[in-house]
C-alpha cells in the first residue's frame, strides 16, 4: 500500500503541465529517432542529453524527457521495420519478420496499429512490474556489500556481449578501451592522480556524457556525411486503417506473453531488448496454433513489439535499484543521473522518492501519449521519415555542442567531444561496439572501488569475495553469462538469420 501512495505522489509530479509537456516532446522525438534507420534508443537518448542540459532542466524533467525518448524510440523502431523492412534499431529486427509481409499485403496500417497496441501493452505491464519489483529490490540491495557489488559488476561485464552479440573479442576490446579511459583522473581510494599530466581539466577524469555524445551523436553525423546525406527515405503510402475489436482481442494473449517475457529479459543484466523480442517471437511461434508466422501473422508483430518494449522498462529495474545498467540505453540514462548528482541505488528510492516515482508515473503517462500518437498520427511520422537528414543532422550537432558547452563552460570539452566522435566513427567502421566502451567507463571505477573496499574490510583476505551465498550466486550467473553465449549464441543467431532470410523469399 505504501507503494501505491508513493505512486500517487508520483502522478502528482507527472501530471503537472511541465512534466506532461516534456513527456509529449520526448515521445515525439523518441518515435522519430527510433523510426530513422540506424538511430537506436541509445543514440536517441545520447543525442538528447545535451538538449536537457542546454535547456537547464531540473533532474526530474530531464529524466522524464529522456525516459519518454527511450520509450518512444522503442515504439518508433517498428515503423521502418514494417514499412521498409529495415529495422529502426536492433530490437525491432524481429518485427520485420511478420510486419513487412503484412505491409506487402496492403495491411501496413493494421500492422502499425497492432504493433502500437502491443508496444503499449508491453510497456504498461513492464512498468507495473517495475513498480512492484523495484522497491523490493531496493530494500534487498542493502544486503550488497563491497564483495557482492564486485561480483555484480563482474556479472555485468561477463554478460556484456549478450546472447545476440556478434564478436566477443571485439566486445572485450571495447570494454577494455572504456576501462582505460576510466582510469584517468584522481583515484578516490588513494587520492593519487592517474594520467592527468597536471591538467586541471583531467583531474575528475573524462566525463562520460561527453564520451557518450561524441561516440554516438557525432559519429552518427560523420556517417550521414559519408552517405552524402542528401535525400530522405522514399515516401511510403499507407492504406486506410481497418481494425476491429476482434483483431485486437486476437493478438492480446500474444502481447501479454511477450510483455512478461520481455520484462524478465530486460531485468537480467546484459540480455536486453533484442533478446526480449527474440524470445517473445520464438515462444509465440511455438505456443500458437498453426498460424502464418513469417508470412504476415499479426501475432508475429504483436509478440516481439510487446517483448522489446517490456524489456525496455525492465532494464530500468537494475539501473535504478543497484546502479548497474541492464542495457546500453540504461547505461546512457545512468550517466545522465550521475552527472545530475543523483546517485542511483537503494538510496534513490529514499532520498529522491519524488523523482523516482515521478519518472515511473511519467512512464505511464508517456506510454498513453505514445499510443495516442502512434495510432491516429502514424502518417505524420511516416512523412517525417522523409525529412532529408541534411536538415536534421546540423540541428543535432548544434544541440550537442551547446549542451556540452553549457555543462562545463570549457572549450576543451568540445574538443574531447569531437575526438570521441571521430573515434566512434572509426570504431563503428571496424565493428567495435560502442556500448561496452560506455559501460567500461561507467562501471570500471565502481568495480575497482568495490574490490578495494572488500579487501580493506577483510584486511587483505581475497576469500572475502566468495564468502556469502549472494556473491557465490552472482559469480555463478557471471560464469554462465560468459560461457553460454559461446555455446548458445551461434545457434540463436543462425535462427534469427534463417527467419530473416525466409522473409526475403516472400
Amino acid at each position: 500500500m505504501d507503494t501505491m501512495s508513493l505512486l500517487m505522489q508520483g502522478f502528482a509530479v507527472a501530471l503537472t503541465p511541465e512534466s506532461i509537456m516534456f513527456a509529449v516532446i520526448g515521445a515525439i522525438l523518441g518515435t522519430l529517432i527510433g523510426a530513422l534507420p540506424g538511430l537506436g534508443p541509445a543514440n536517441g537518448v545520447a543525442i538528447l542529453i545535451p538538449l536537457a542540459f542546454s535547456l537547464g532542466l531540473s533532474p526530474t524533467s530531464s529524466l522524464i524527457l529522456l525516459t519518454s525518448v527511450y520509450a518512444g524510440a522503442m515504439y518508433g523502431g517498428r515503423i521502418s521495420s514494417i514499412l521498409l523492412n529495415i529495422p529502426g534499431d536492433e530490437p525491432a529486427m524481429m518485427t520485420c519478420l511478420d510486419g513487412y509481409p503484412m505491409a506487402v499485403k496492403g495491411k501496413a496500417a493494421e500492422a502499425l496499429a497492432i504493433s502500437a497496441i502491443a508496444s503499449f501493452i508491453g510497456s504498461f505491464i513492464a512498468t507495473i512490474g517495475l513498480v512492484i519489483l523495484a522497491p523490493i529490490l531496493a530494500k534487498f540491495a542493502l544486503r550488497f556489500g563491497p564483495s557482492e557489488y564486485f561480483a555484480l559488476f563482474a556479472l555485468a561485464f561477463a554478460t556484456l556481449g549478450g546472447i545476440t552479440g556478434k564478436n566477443q573479442f571485439k566486445t572485450l576490446m571495447a570494454a577494455a578501451i572504456g576501462l582505460m579511459i576510466a582510469t584517468v583522473g584522481i583515484d578516490i581510494s588513494t587520492g593519487v592522480q592517474r594520467f592527468t599530466f597536471n591538467t586541471l581539466e583531467l583531474f575528475e577524469g573524462v566525463d562520460f556524457i561527453i564520451a557518450i555524445v561524441g561516440l554516438f551523436a557525432i559519429s552518427e553525423l560523420l556517417f550521414f556525411l559519408e552517405r552524402h546525406a542528401g535525400d530522405g527515405l522514399k515516401q511510403v503510402a499507407i492504406n486506410k486503417l481497418k481494425l476491429s475489436a476482434k483483431d485486437i482481442i486476437k493478438v492480446l494473449p500474444a502481447s501479454l506473453r511477450g510483455a512478461v517475457l520481455g520484462f524478465v529479459a530486460g531485468v537480467l543484466p546484459g540480455a536486453g531488448a533484442s533478446l526480449g523480442s527474440f524470445i517473445s517471437y520464438t515462444l509465440e511461434k511455438r505456443v500458437s496454433d498453426k498460424g502464418e508466422f513469417g508470412k504476415g501473422d499479426p501475432r508475429g508483430v504483436a509478440a516481439p513489439e510487446a517483448g522489446n518494449n517490456g524489456a525496455a522498462s525492465g532494464a530500468l529495474v537494475p539501473m535504478l535499484t543497484l546502479g548497474v545498467p541492464g542495457s546500453g540505453t540504461t547505461a546512457v540514462l545512468l550517466a545522465m543521473l550521475i552527472s545530475l548528482n543523483i546517485s542511483p541505488g537503494p538510496m534513490l528510492f529514499q532520498q529522491n522518492a519524488d523523482l523516482v516515482w515521478g519518472v515511473i508515473a511519467a512512464m505511464f503517462v508517456g506510454n498513453l501519449v505514445l499510443l495516442l500518437l502512434n495510432i491516429p498520427m502514424v502518417g505524420i511520422f511516416v512523412k517525417l521519415l522523409s525529412i532529408p537528414p541534411k536538415y536534421l543532422m546540423p540541428i543535432v550537432t548544434l544541440i550537442a555542442s551547446v549542451g556540452i558547452y553549457s555543462v562545463s563552460h570549457s572549450a576543451l570539452d568540445l574538443y574531447f567531444m569531437v575526438g570521441f566522435g571521430v573515434a566512434g566513427y572509426i570504431f563503428r567502421k571496424v565493428d567495435i561496439p560502442l556500448v561496452p566502451i560506455i559501460l567500461g567507463m561507467l562501471l570500471g571505477p565502481e568495480m575497482e572501488k568495490s574490490l578495494r573496499h572488500a579487501l580493506v574490510l577483510s584486511d587483505g583476505d581475497w576469500s572475502v569475495l566468495f564468502n556469502s551465498g549472494l556473491s557465490i550466486g552472482l559469480w555463478t550467473v557471471a560464469i554462465l553469462g560468459l560461457v553460454l553465449p559461446i555455446i548458445v549464441g551461434p545457434i540463436v543467431r543462425a535462427k534469427m538469420k534463417k527467419s530473416k532470410e525466409s522473409v526475403k523469399d516472400v
Binding site: I186, S189, E204, N341, M347, Q350, K449, H453, L457
Partner: protein
C-alpha cells in the same frame, strides 16, 4: 515572539535599503552578477550559487539577474584557475566555495595555486560533521569508538563520501588526533563517490561507521537505521538534531563545520570587496535566507571579511599540518 522577529526583519530590510543607498557612491554593482558553481548542477556549490543568487535578486541587490554558471573540474580547481587567470579583476563575480576548497588548497591539489590568490568574502551557514553507526552496532558512544581505535587503529572501518584524504576522511582523523589516538595512518577509511553510497554500506552492516555531514543522515536517522554518535560542533544543533551529543561533551575537542561561502577574484577592487562582505552580512540576517537554511539543513555559521580570511588561513594550515602528519602529502 513572532512579532518581535518580524519587526526585526522589517528594521533590517529598512537598514538594508539605506545601506544600499549609502553605498551607491562607493561602488555600484552592475545590473547583473555572476556566480560560478565549480560543479555540476545539483550539488552543494550549485545550491549555494542558486539560492544566494535568488535572494540577492529578491532583496533588490541586483536589478537584473544573478546568473549561476557551472564550471566543473578538479573539485573546484578549474573554477579557481579560471578566476585567478581570466577574471582577476571582475567586480561582479562570486565563486562558491566550501571546506572542500580549502582542503584541496591545503593539500596542493590545485597545482601552483594557493588561498592568497583570491579574496574570501564570507560564509552563509555550515553543515556540521557527524560520526554515526548502524542500529545494530556494538558502539553506543564516540568514546567507545575512540577506545577501540586506541587499542587498534584499524579495528573500526569508516565509510565516507569524499575521496581518500578529503574532508570526510579528515574529520575522522582530526577527531582521533584530538583524542590522542596513535598511528593515525592505520585508521581505515573507505572512499565512496557520495555520502549516500557510504551510508547504505553502513546501514547494511558492511562497514562499521559513517563519517559525513548532518544534512546527509536525516532520512536514516528518522527511520531508526542509523545511530549518530556525535556531532562535531561547538554546541548541540537545533531541533530535530538536539538529541545528538557533541564530541566535546564526550571529552573530545573536535569541531568540523563544512561551511558554505564565497570568494571573489584576487584583484577585484577593494570597494567591491567591501560591498560583497556587507551584502553577505546583511543577506545572512534576512528571513528569506533563514528559511532557506532551515529547509536545507544548514546550521548557523557566519564569518566574513577579515575574520573569514583569517579563518580560511588557519583552516588551510591545520589541514596541511594534519595531512603531513598522517602522510597524505609530503
Amino acid at each position: 515572539m513572532l512579532k518581535n522577529i518580524s519587526l526585526k526583519s522589517v528594521l533590517i530590510s529598512g537598514a538594508v535599503a539605506l545601506t544600499i543607498a549609502g553605498q551607491a557612491s562607493a561602488y555600484e554593482p552592475a545590473r547583473s552578477g555572476e556566480c560560478i558553481a565549480p560543479a555540476n548542477p545539483g550539488g552543494g556549490w550549485d545550491f549555494t550559487c542558486r539560492s544566494v543568487g535568488k535572494v540577492l535578486v529578491d532583496q533588490g541587490y541586483f536589478k537584473g539577474n544573478v546568473q549561476t554558471v557551472n564550471m566543473t573540474g578538479a573539485g573546484g580547481g578549474v573554477a579557481f584557475a579560471h578566476t585567478i587567470s581570466k577574471r582577476d579583476k571582475d567586480d561582479n563575480l562570486i565563486v562558491a566555495a566550501s571546506t572542500a576548497t580549502t582542503t584541496r588548497l591545503a593539500q596542493g591539489q590545485f597545482p601552483g595555486m594557493n588561498a592568497d590568490q583570491v579574496k574570501w568574502v564570507g560564509t552563509l551557514g555550515a553543515d556540521y560533521g557527524i560520526i554515526a553507526v548502524g542500529k545494530d552496532s556494538k558502539y553506543t558512544s564516540l568514546t567507545q569508538v575512540i577506545d577501540a581505535l586506541k587499542k587498534d587503529p584499524s579495528s573500526v572501518k569508516f565509510a565516507g563520501g569524499s575521496a581518500s584524504g578529503g574532508w570526510d576522511h579528515l574529520k575522522v582523523l582530526m577527531t582521533a588526533q584530538k583524542a590522542n589516538v596513535e598511528n593515525l595512518p592505520k585508521v581505515r577509511y573507505l572512499a565512496f563517490s557520495g555520502g549516500s553510497e557510504a551510508l547504505v554500506q553502513v546501514v547494511g552492516g558492511h562497514v562499521d561507521a559513517f563519517t559525513g555531514d548532518i544534512s546527509e543522515v536525516k532520512g536514516f536517522m528518522d527511520s531508526g537505521d542509523l545511530r549518530v554518535l556525535a556531532v562535531l560542533s561547538e554546541e548541540r544543533l537545533p531541533a530535530p538534531f538536539d538529541s545528538i551529543p557533541t564530541a566535546m561533551e564526550q571529552g573530545i575537542d573536535s569541531v568540523a563545520p563544512n561551511w558554505r561561502g564565497f570568494y571573489v577574484p584576487g584583484n577585484a577592487s577593494s570597494e567591491s570587496y567591501d560591498w560583497w562582505v556587507k551584502t553577505i552580512d546583511e543577506l545572512y540576517t534576512t528571513q528569506e535566507w533563514k528559511d532557506i537554511m532551515t529547509k536545507n539543513g544548514l546550521m548557523p555559521f557566519h564569518k566574513s571579511g577579515a575574520e573569514f580570511t583569517q579563518f580560511v588561513k588557519n583552516q588551510t594550515l591545520d589541514i596541511k599540518v594534519l595531512s603531513q602528519d598522517i602522510g597524505l602529502i609530503k
